[in-house]
Symmetry: C2
Subunit: 770 residues, 2 copies
């Protein structure tokens, strides 16, 4: 049953700590200890949100300013820094370009594949409408859908489980500073792109927008490092950027470029990145992010304009095309605002319902559907059910609409309608969801039958709930918008019944937009960035104020019931996620209470054997060690003089930087920052480094490699103050010292993340080894 965690958690099979190479440094006792701990792990992992996993490591947004680093910085001229800056811009441009290209590829592939599918099914239905025996069409449709989804699900479930879902929660965590294993690898990108094409073409109630954000992030992480570890290819460029600080900045840009490509919303992309990720706002960084976003939209538009045969026409928006609201038609009036607020509240309630059902579903999946083949089968089942429900609804609806002159429907299905008419329910299903949203926004009044809309909303709502969390790459933005647009338009139609036809209520398209915003806001609970994204995607700023009101209302109402969908999934993975502020009532706590203590400290000149032992001790896997002037024997804490990271120690051990070898090292070259960068980010485990018994007696001088000025706080510092320092600077380790600067504890991310506000005040999460 311990398998559960392995299969469903984001880290997928990334939990390679179990399969590590055996300890080579001959420390049998430690090895024993470790196995004990492995055995003593709870068999059934209680996957609930009251746990905080120790599995996730932190990113380090604070440069380790050791001597090597300072020397390099000091060597650099002003021109050198300018070149670096230019390189950053070039990278951002590349990120934007590649993200746009990927978006373009996905868009064209989905359109082609879905087109073939709908065409085949349409032909088949038309054939059997006359002959009778439409069940054959149903089967064809279901099989086609399942086949597409099967390919996607197999790729995800068997090759790279982290590529499942929209990827937004994972990117959110990454930007927050949590290292999610494998999340920004090339393989993940490939599977993600393939998966999303399959699942959208497979007719699932999903969108291709969320995955774009993940794709952008992967592109950014790859490009900015100038190499691909998966492909074992190092271009020897951009080596300066091989550290968490820079990488995270670029990943922000990548996520923004993804949003920008997905929604044609460059500003929305920037705001998304900032809202979800950044803590310290830096103007230059923001401009670069903006640049990446702009290039991404531009690239996408450029290539799509060529694809659509109008090369050079760059005015169209991103992947999603909601169509522009014409500014003459769309106006709203003061007395409509209460209506908007009601819709916002409705969106909040429906969104919360969505989240609650999905929460239970996810728990169920974690418990029972953890084998890859089961996951694939579930995905195929959902695909088949989606096809069946769609078919049933088309079959039983008799909502016929006249085929207009300026027919925007690509696959009008006559079915049982009179000649010159088409089945409007079929339109809703015989389209990629984006097109359906657009129709709901823009089709003239009277296009849709209220009953059709009601039934459609209901069916699509449950399909979408069921679909989110499947082992396929898929986003939740578009289904949410579609559900909202459907009930929003229904709302608008009902309003127009009670009003005269000449009134401002006559156009239900406006209400479809507001409904879409309300539903999406109720599910994901974003406000600022979502407002901007919707404004940009609809190309009209008039609705800014109503959309903001609606999103705010949806968030307030929704938060009363349950958290946002992404936060639920983050919590279910027990990620140590840091929110914006410390819980408000946490002034009671001080650093003394939250810190981990005692701390394993190292001496400035330390015995190699001790370092190896400390690193190999798996009962307490620390990643940072305060360096003290001299640890006295009688367990009295030493005076802090630096901080060194596990990764640095590993590189030092690997290169045998021992004091005793200093003389022979004169002939060798000196250890450089480059050696650390080459190892980044996949530092080898300690077990892979062979240290002989002789070497264990050597000494290592850490002075040059440790960060001599780590941030410290006194023990009496209140939790909110510690939190602010930690969050604002993106720290990984914060040393707690006493009056005389002696190390007494260490605060890490999990120490801060475990406090949260529960029903009855401040609660503490439990730490778990999952």
């Amino acid at each position: 049953m311990a398998n559960i965690a392995k299969k469903v958690s984001w880290s997928g099979r990334g939990d390679d700590r179990g399969e590590r190479t055996p300890l080579l440094n001959g420390d049998e006792e430690v090895k024993y200890n470790r196995q004990d701990i492995v055995r003593s792990r709870p068999k059934e992992i209680p996957h609930n949100e009251k746990l905080l996993s120790l599995k996730f490591e932190s990113l380090d947004y604070d440069n380790s300013e050791n001597q090597l680093f300072l020397e390099e910085e000091r060597r650099m001229s002003h021109m050198g820094f300018r070149c670096l800056e230019i390189r950053r811009w070039v990278i951002c441009g590349l990120i934007g370009f590649l993200t746009g290209l990927i978006a373009c590829m996905i868009d064209i592939a989905v359109e082609k594949l879905a087109g073939y599918k709908y065409f085949a099914v349409k032909l088949n239905i038309e054939k059997y409408t006359e002959l009778g025996g439409l069940s054959i069409s149903l089967i064809l449709w279901a099989v086609l859908n399942s086949a597409f989804v099967m390919f996607g699900a197999i790729a995800v479930a068997f090759v790279e489980p982290i590529a499942a879902g929209s990827g937004i929660p994972q990117i959110k965590c990454f930007l927050n500073g949590v290292k999610i294993p494998r999340v920004v690898r090339l393989k993940t990108l490939v599977i993600k792109v393939f998966g999303v094409i399959c699942s959208v073409a497979g007719g699932l109630a999903v969108g291709k927008e969320g995955p774009m954000i993940h794709s952008g992030a992967v592109v950014a992480a790859g490009v900015s490092q100038g190499r691909s570890t998966s492909l074992k290819k190092d271009f020897k460029i951009f080596e300066y950027f091989r550290r968490d600080t820079e990488k995270r900045d670029f990943v922000s840009a990548g996520a923004a470029a993804g949003v920008s490509a997905a929604f044609g919303a460059p500003v929305g992309g920037v705001l998304f990145s900032l809202e979800e990720g950044a803590s310290f706002w830096n103007q230059m960084l923001t401009w670069r992010i903006f640049f990446a976003s702009m290039v991404s939209t531009f690239t996408l538009n450029f290539f799509l304009s060529i694809y659509h045969g109008k090369p050079g026409e760059l005015s169209s928006p991103g992947l999603i095309n909601f169509g522009r609201f014409d500014s003459d038609i769309v106006q709203y009036n003061l007395y409509e605002i209460p209506l908007f607020i009601i819709m916002g509240a409705l969106g909040g309630v429906l969104g919360a319902l969505f989240n609650i059902i999905n929460y239970w579903l996810t728990i169920f999946r974690i418990r029972y559907i953890h084998r890859p083949c089961l996951q694939v089968m579930e995905a195929m089942l959902v695909a088949a059910v989606t096809a069946t429900v769609s078919f049933a609804m088309i079959y039983f609806s008799n909502d016929c609409q006249p085929l207009g002159q300026d027919n925007t429907e690509e696959y009008p299905l006559q079915l049982f309608c009179a000649d010159g008419e088409y089945n409007s329910m079929a339109t809703a299903f015989f389209n990629t969801p984006e097109r359906s949203v657009r129709s709901l926004f823009h089709n003239p009044p009277g296009t849709y039958n209220p009953v059709t809309l009601g039934v459609f909303t209901l069916a699509y709502f449950f399909l979408a709930v069921w679909t989110y969390g499947l082992t396929v790459s898929a986003g939740v933005f578009i289904p949410s918008l579609l559900i909202g647009a459907a009930w929003g338009r229904l709302f608008g139609i009902l309003l127009s019944f009670i009003a005269s036809s000449q009134s401002i209520w006559a156009d239900p398209g406006k209400y479809a937009l507001i409904g879409a915003a309300a539903q999406l806001g109720g599910i994901v609970r974003m406000t600022l960035s979502l407002t901007v994204i919707l404004v940009e995607a609809t190309g009209n700023v008039t609705y800014g104020f109503p959309i903001m009101l609606v999103l705010m209302t949806a968030k307030i109402v929704g938060d009363y019931f349950i958290e946002g969908l992404y936060d639920i999934h983050i919590k279910l993975q027990s990620v140590p996620f840091l929110h914006w502020d410390a819980p408000p009532t946490s002034h009671w706590l001080t650093a003394r209470e939250v810190m981990s203590s005692p701390v394993t400290c190292l001496n400035r000149v330390e015995k190699v054997g001790r370092i190896v032992d400390v690193l190999s001790n798996t009962s307490t896997i620390h990643n940072g060690f305060p360096v003290v002037a001299h640890t006295s024997e009688n367990d009295e804490p030493g005076i802090i003089c630096g901080l060194i990271l596990r990764s640095q120690l590993i590189v030092l051990l690997k290169h045998k930087v021992f004091v005793e070898r200093a003389s022979s090292r004169l002939s060798q070259r000196k250890l450089q920052l480059k050696d650390f960068r080459d190892a980044y980010p996949r530092f080898p485990p300690i077990q892979s480094i062979h240290v002989s018994q002789d070497e264990r007696e050597c000494m290592m001088d850490l002075t040059e490699f440790m960060n001599p000025t780590p941030y410290t706080v006194p023990q009496e510092t209140s939790l909110p103050r510690v939190f602010k320092l930690f969050r604002a600077l993106g720290l990984r380790h914060l040393v707690v010292v006493d009056n005389e600067n002696r190390v007494v504890g260490l605060v890490t991310r999990k120490d801060l993340a475990r406090y949260h506000v529960g029903k009855d005040g401040l609660e503490e999460l439990h730490l778990a080894q999952t």
Copy 2:
């Protein structure tokens, strides 16, 4: 000559340190010292940008978490925090509402006054066109203009000099953390509003948008404190928010609301606030800022819709109305992008030229035009010259255009044109600048004669340069846009000459927009927020990418020559402004080199006499004092145990919180946080507090009032690291300690701000007492 600094510097007559009440604590020696220093000040104040003024104090964005504060926070329940949060939202709503109201008032007043003026002048001109003797019209016009401007200039120069200019540099400094005296007072607001109405109605080449940002900030500072010190009215509400931390947050919201009202750009407003001010991005704060922006636009639109007789039609944008670009017409093509970039470069060059001329003009003004009456006369002169130039250009131009059916010009002037035609040059001048911008953007091709445009650009450019920096309330946004729109349209017309009429180049309105963006970008050098403001103000997202490109180019080209206009004025005032990052080549410097040392420390229990002496010592006006365990006699630094502010000490002295009086204090009430809040932000000077000779022998226990956990850094910390900590947390004092936690120095804003990158690497500014 010492008057120079007094009259022209932002602090105006706020430099009341000289007029302080005499020292009452009988310390003659100190008093003597002080006068010495006053005498020893340099006679001629060398107002240049290589100085850093010690006059400006810092805001403290770091809460002083002393025992009183912690006790209050700990007493508060979770519900209490929620109420606080709700109150914050209410305040932001109020800020938005009031800012919108003020914007509405300004708009209506300007429109009415300018309307009357143009009407009178038009009648007069029409009368004298037939009779001959147009010089009388010219005189009427010049006198009217000068009269309006005179009132505005007198109010600004004699009542509140800080209300001069756009206020954006001042707000930028405030958000950066510099306390600009009197900048957020009610009196400033009143003068600002009055001044801007006068100067716009007076026909100067100014806009009303910049001052809106300042007005919003003042409203925010006032509302959030729940009282007006000027009116001596305390509403006893929002007392919790009476500290720099909260106030600065609200001022951000106010500035955003101002932008939002001015340009109808709520998102742009948020981004402006963030780009100019915030360092730590907090999601909740951003949402509140956004809310204030939205409410502001909404209020403005609502009241303007009533004023224009279409109540409830909320779809119009802010104060500025560029008119919407229709999405069908506005398209751009790939091959236009190089043209845009050329325009951006041109904008950068012209912007730099603008800034250079204005820089020399400002230096000239500082040297020679520092008496208020001279300032008023200069303003009147500019007003008269503006009228004369306008008149001459109208008179000598013979650019007649047919009066169309759908005539958008409110004051068409026939002058020497044939019947049914009007003088198009007159239109450009007989309009508030906003209307002219709109005409340049939207009038159909052929409306403007290229020669007219060229001459207009040239004349308006120099008028605008001359006008910015006058002692009137006025913004530079609109004149910049107008100049840019004029040459942009000219550029477009020239393009259409070389292309066929059917091509995409046929519409010069598009180029007017791009030109406007380029010119404004070249002058103020904003990018992200300006892009969004322009996109929102034109109501069209299509041009997002070109506008961004153009702004980037303009910034890069402009930065090559000189800084942005606001930065020039900030530098000329010697404000210790902190940029986003430390200078790149500053890794050479460590805290040891930049810190101020030795530091005046206080004991935990300190003699009142010493505290009074320390506070009264004007040779080194410190605002924060490290509290140490026990300062030994032999000048060895003590171990840090806290930090106390001058303002806190003053309140303690005022309330006589002496150890010896503790017994009698039992009958009195204990000193509370409220006492500090009541004194905020205008703490009395030390000289106003009477301390008897007996009391000087008493002791004060600072334990309860000091911040026991100030942030500290070791001496070896590099400047960029210190800078990052300081900037990210918005600190005012950063204590530098040695290995054993003993105080060795103090880093303040001026210590960091004085390093900057000059032509030959890192330069250090001089500190001056001005």
